[in-house]
Each structure stands twice: as structure tokens, then as C-alpha cells.
């Protein structure tokens, strides 16, 4: 998928976010503008406190920016204020979220952790179950479909969490350090999976990470520092970014 033949799945124009006011004001994000297209996997990097999570929260519509404009899948949701829209419904319909830790509901088995999202989206029980098992198969974790979260390994749980994020065929997938709790081998497997999903489902994937070992898995990398977009790098240039000591 190229940038020329479609509209961006995520478009951010001059977005800022500050906390507090006066002398205690902290500018978490300053004048951020970026675009992510369907089929792209982009990385959001930067040191702690650079504003990565704040930006992700703004894109996920769980934190209101202070100013700017946010467009998700062609729908302007923020333009110096939240526009009249059901943000929870918007998240359900357009956004899949992969947490740093799987955050599976401990009282549901692997299948039902996926079915619950489909149920909220209006799927019937049978249709939801069928799609959930398809997704678990796609993510090669169908053999654990009846296991409770406590019985899953870290990698298996993360795959189930990814299945849940994909359940409602979202156009935008946000991932908050999805490889952090995994070893390097499993981290690469997960990143390969995300690339596959981006291509198969024409989804835009924004992935916050500190992991320099997976930089080559991104089409584009945005680096943040002190709330500002420092560098925007295309694929191919990513190897240069993975310099020693970073």
C-alpha cells in the first residue's frame, strides 16, 4: 500500500497536549503532525517522558489533546475539541489496541477474550465464536483456545491479545510496547505477525517501542523527544538509526 493511492488511516495536524497551567504547565506534546497509511507499520520511539504514550492515548481517543486536529479513518474526531462522537464506539469500530501486557480478562478463556469484543460489536454468539477461532488459528494459538489467561505463556497471551485487537477488523491498530515482555525471538515473531496483519487486513499499525532490535520491521519510524517530533525516518534508513548506545 502506498501513500499516494489512499487517504491516511491516522492523520495528526499540529497536535499539542499540555498538563497543568502557569508555572506548573508541562508540555507533553508540541505541534505534532504525522500521517499513517493503511498497510503501514510505523514505530513510535523516544526516551521515557518524550510523549510516546501520551500521543498513543490521544490517537486512541482516551485522552483529549489540548489543540490541533485528529482524523481517524477519514473521520475528524478532534479539532480543538472532541467532535460529537461516541468515542468508545469509535474505538470499538476503528481501533484495535495491543497493550504492553496482554490485559486479557482473567475470567474468560482465550476464545471468549476475543468473543467479548465481537459481542460488543454486535456479532451473534455463534458468528463471534467462529471468527474468534479463525483469528486464533491465524495467530497459531488455536490449540490454546480453551485455556484461561493464567494458563497461557507470555507469547500465547500476547497472541490472544492481538487476536482480540483484530477481532472487529479495525483500520487502526495501536500497540504499546507489545514486545516488551517477550524475548528477542518471540519479539520478532510478534513483529512479523503485525506486518502480516497490516498487509492482510490493510490496517495502519502504530507501535510504541524501545526495542532497537525490531527497527527493521517498521515502514516508518517517528522519534519523539521532549514532546516534539524529532526525526521521521522511512524504511531502509532504519538500520542507520539503530546505532550502538541507543
Amino acid at each position: 500500500m502506498t501513500e499516494g493511492n489512499t487517504q491516511p488511516a491516522v492523520r495528526i495536524d499540529h497536535l499539542s497536549k499540555h498538563f497543568g497551567s502557569g508555572s506548573s504547565r508541562v508540555d507533553a506534546l508540541r505541534d505534532i503532525s504525522m500521517e499513517v497509511f493503511p498497510g503501514q507499520v510505523v514505530g513510535l520511539m523516544g526516551p521515557s517522558g518524550s510523549g510516546k504514550t501520551t500521543l498513543l492515548n490521544c490517537i486512541a481517543c482516551i485522552m483529549a489533546p489540548s489543540s490541533g486536529r485528529l482524523t481517524l479513518d477519514g473521520e475528524v474526531v478532534y479539532d480543538d475539541r472532541w467532535l460529537p462522537t461516541d468515542l468508545r464506539r469509535l474505538r470499538l469500530d476503528k481501533i484495535g489496541f495491543i497493550f504492553q501486557y496482554p490485559n486479557l480478562l482473567p475470567f474468560l478463556d482465550a476464545t471468549d477474550n476475543v468473543v467479548v469484543v465481537l459481542g460488543l460489536a454486535g456479532y451473534s454468539a455463534a458468528a463471534g465464536r467462529s471468527r474468534a477461532i479463525d483469528l486464533l488459528s491465524y495467530l497459531e494459538v488455536a490449540n490454546r483456545k480453551d485455556a484461561m489467561p493464567a494458563q497461557l505463556s507470555g507469547g500465547e497471551a500476547q497472541r490472544v491479545a492481538i487476536a482480540r485487537a483484530l477481532a472487529n477488523r479495525p483500520r487502526i491498530i495501536l500497540a504499546d510496547e507489545p514486545t516488551a515482555p517477550l524475548d528477542s525471538q518471540r519479539a520478532r515473531i510478534v513483529m512479523n505477525l503485525l506486518r502480516k496483519i497490516a498487509i492482510d487486513q490493510t490496517a495502519a499499525i502504530i507501535c510504541v517501542t524501545h526495542d532497537e532490535m525490531i527497527l527493521d520491521r517498521f515502514d516508518h519510524i517517528f522519534r519523539l523527544r521532549d514532546g516534539q517530533l524529532e526525526i521521521s525516518t522511512n524504511r531502509g534508513d532504519t538500520r542507520k538509526l539503530a546505532s550502538p548506545g541507543m
Partner: protein, 381 residues
């Protein structure tokens, strides 16, 4: 998918233990309801057991239950002759305490004339009193068996239990015993030998024993009760009370303070239950903060979250109520006083439990609705 059910199933042991604890509390609420009803019912049974249309008692008194009443025994003959009176029976009432097998035994003793109103209405075992002396019919709650002999009075005469009744107790919970009027009068008025000798020595006449406490009257259905009552009260030393007046005296005056006290305890228990249920639900919700944040994050509407909490609260209330009720029904017979558990009271307590559960869950709902979906992003604890 029912999230409440799935969460309960996942934490079944915790749910069962919580319900068991709550069931004990709700069991106490049901018990107090039963004690409250039992108190009223015992008082009413005491009056209704006599099956009287009119009670003829000493003028100026509210006897024989609310206060003492003493009238000559021949009053019964006077009453029986009044137009409209079908049957009349002289009765005495007194509390007695004796000792049996080293344990105290209390009765409320009713003396009645054989074949006349005032005797036991229905026996569950044995026979009616047939001899003039030394036989008694007693409520089974006294723990006596047929043929057992009970020493009574200052002379220690032994009375044989010949019949048993059921649920025939006073408003203070003492079992009711019946014996012939003559025996009851003797027990009421007889003096111990030393006291009797002293009475004779001081030259005083021995107290007459030919007194009774009331006359129980059955009135013909063809004659108005008021007319008979008016005829009877023409004797200045007598007054009459209807069954309704006796019931009012007992339930509204004699047991009023006990009744109100138990009602107060009941209200306090309901409040305590509400607070405890509220805290349990709040704690259960606190345990699910991350799950609720995740649900909100993935797009669950508030009604899903509220449904999860309310359904769990109601499940807890219903299960606890059923366990509590079964426990109390199982142990009902072991309470020293009668528990009267009426279906309508059970229904009211059940409805209150449901209302309390829903009201108490507002604490948890408030907490759940305030949970920020961003909490799902926080590092796993």
C-alpha cells in the same frame, strides 16, 4: 456472553464463601422477622386458644392477661343464665415454676372446667383430661412426654401428663399447661403447711380458694355480642372484653415494647446488611479495576459495566438469601422460642435484599464508571 456469570464461575470459591458469610447475616434478618412474628403470634394464640366470644373479668381490670382479675367462681353460673350465652366456663391463669430432673420447668397454667370452654382445643398426642385431679395436658415445647409425672405446688402433688398440644405458648414463650379448675385453684391458693399453721394461729380465716380469673363465654350467633356484653356488665363487679379487645391488649400494650425493640433490631440489621453488601461489592469492583478499564478501552458501553456489577450484586444477594433461608428453616426447631416465618415476610425480606443489593451496588458502579480506560495501559501489577 454474561460477564457476571463468567466472573463468578472463575472465582467460585470466593463467591461461595462471600455468599455464605452474607447468608448468615440475612439468616439473622429472617430470624428476627420470625421472632417478631412469633411474639405476636404467640400472644394471639394465647387469646385465640380459649376460643371465647366474651371474656368476663373483674370490673375495672384488663384481665386476665394484661393485669390480674379475680372473681368468685359462681360468676360462671350467673353468666351462663344470661340471655344469648350458649356456654360458659370458669378459668384460672397462673405462672408456675417447678424443678424436674434438677432443671427448672416453667408453665403458664390454665385451670378449666372439664367439658366447658377454656380447655385445650387440639391435642397432637395422648388424650384429654378425664379425671378430676392430678392430670395435665401440656405443650410439647415443655419437653415432657406422655405419662411423665411433674411435681407441682407447695405440697408437691405429682401431675401426670396425659396429652400434648403444639404451638401453645404464651407471649413470653412459656409452654401452656392445662389441668382441672379444682387442681389449678388449689395450686394458686394453697399455702405451705408452716404458712397455713401460722395463718390459723393468728386467728385469720383461711383464704377462700373458690375464686377464678375469668369466665370464657360463647355467645349464640343469633344474639348480638354487644347486647350480651351490656347484660353482663350490669353486674357492677364484672366487665367484659371481646376477643378482639384481648388481642389488642396483648399485641398493642403487653408486648408493645418487645415488638418495637425487635422491629428496631430488624431495621438496624437491614442497614448493617446494606453497608456490608455495599462494601463487599465495592471490594469486588476494586479487584476488577483493570478488567473494567480494559473493557472500557475495547469499547464496552457503560451499561455492560453496570450490568456486570449489578448482576453480580443480585446473584450474591439471591444466593445468600436462599442459603440463609434454608439454614434458618433447617434450624428453626432448635430455637428456644417459636419462629414464625411467614411466606409474605420471606417475600418482603427477599425484596428488601434485592433493593439493598441494587442500592449497595451504586458504590461499586460509581467506582467502575470513574475508572479511566487508560488504567488498562498501566504496567501489570
Amino acid at each position: 456472553m454474561n460477564l457476571a456469570y463468567r466472573d463468578i464461575k472463575h472465582n467460585l470459591l470466593r463467591f461461595v464463601l462471600t455468599c455464605f458469610g452474607l447468608s448468615l447475616l440475612l439468616g439473622v434478618v429472617i430470624t428476627i422477622t420470625g421472632v417478631y412474628r412469633g411474639l405476636i403470634d404467640d400472644a394471639l394464640r394465647q387469646v385465640r386458644a380459649a376460643n371465647a366470644d366474651l371474656w368476663v373479668v373483674q370490673a375495672g381490670t384488663n384481665g386476665p392477661f394484661a393485669e390480674a382479675s379475680r372473681i368468685p367462681r359462681d360468676t360462671r353460673e350467673l353468666v351462663a343464665r344470661v340471655y344469648g350465652v350458649e356456654r360458659a366456663g370458669a378459668v384460672t391463669y397462673q405462672s408456675v415454676q417447678t424443678e424436674l430432673n434438677g432443671k427448672p420447668l416453667r408453665f403458664f397454667l390454665i385451670g378449666f372446667e372439664l367439658g366447658r370452654p377454656g380447655g385445650p382445643s387440639k391435642l397432637i398426642a395422648g388424650r384429654e383430661i378425664m379425671r378430676s385431679h392430678y392430670e395435665m395436658v401440656v405443650d410439647r415445647s415443655a419437653g415432657l412426654s406422655l405419662g411423665q409425672e411433674v411435681p407441682l405446688g407447695t405440697h408437691g402433688h405429682k401431675f401426670t401428663v396425659v396429652g400434648l398440644t403444639r404451638d401453645n405458648v404464651t407471649n413470653s414463650g412459656d409452654p401452656v399447661a392445662y389441668m382441672t379448675l379444682l387442681d389449678a385453684q388449689a395450686l394458686q391458693f394453697e399455702l405451705a403447711p408452716p404458712a397455713e399453721r401460722r395463718e390459723v394461729a393468728r386467728g385469720g380465716a383461711l383464704q377462700t380458694t373458690n375464686q377464678i380469673n375469668a369466665v370464657i363465654t360463647k355467645v349464640s350467633g343469633y344474639v348480638p355480642l354487644k347486647e350480651v356484653a351490656a347484660a353482663l356488665t350490669r353486674w357492677k363487679h364484672l366487665t367484659t372484653l371481646t376477643e378482639e379487645q384481648q388481642e389488642n391488649l396483648l399485641t398493642k400494650e403487653v408486648i408493645e415494647k418487645s415488638r418495637r425493640q425487635q422491629l428496631m433490631i430488624l431495621v438496624l440489621l437491614v442497614i448493617v446488611s446494606a453497608v456490608i453488601i455495599g462494601l463487599i461489592i465495592y471490594t469486588l469492583t476494586m479487584d476488577k479495576v483493570r478488567s473494567i478499564a480494559t473493557l472500557k478501552f475495547v469499547g464496552a458501553p457503560d451499561r455492560t459495566i453496570v450490568g456486570l456489577i449489578v448482576q453480580q450484586a443480585l446473584s450474591m444477594g439471591i444466593v445468600s438469601f436462599v442459603i440463609g433461608l434454608l439454614l434458618i428453616l433447617g434450624f428453626q426447631g432448635h430455637f428456644p422460642r417459636r419462629l414464625v416465618i411467614l411466606p409474605e415476610d420471606v417475600a418482603v425480606v427477599f425484596a428488601i435484599t434485592l433493593v439493598v443489593c441494587v442500592a449497595a451496588s451504586t458504590l461499586g458502579i460509581r467506582l467502575a464508571l470513574k475508572i479511566d480506560p487508560a488504567e488498562a495501559l498501566a504496567a501489570a501489577g
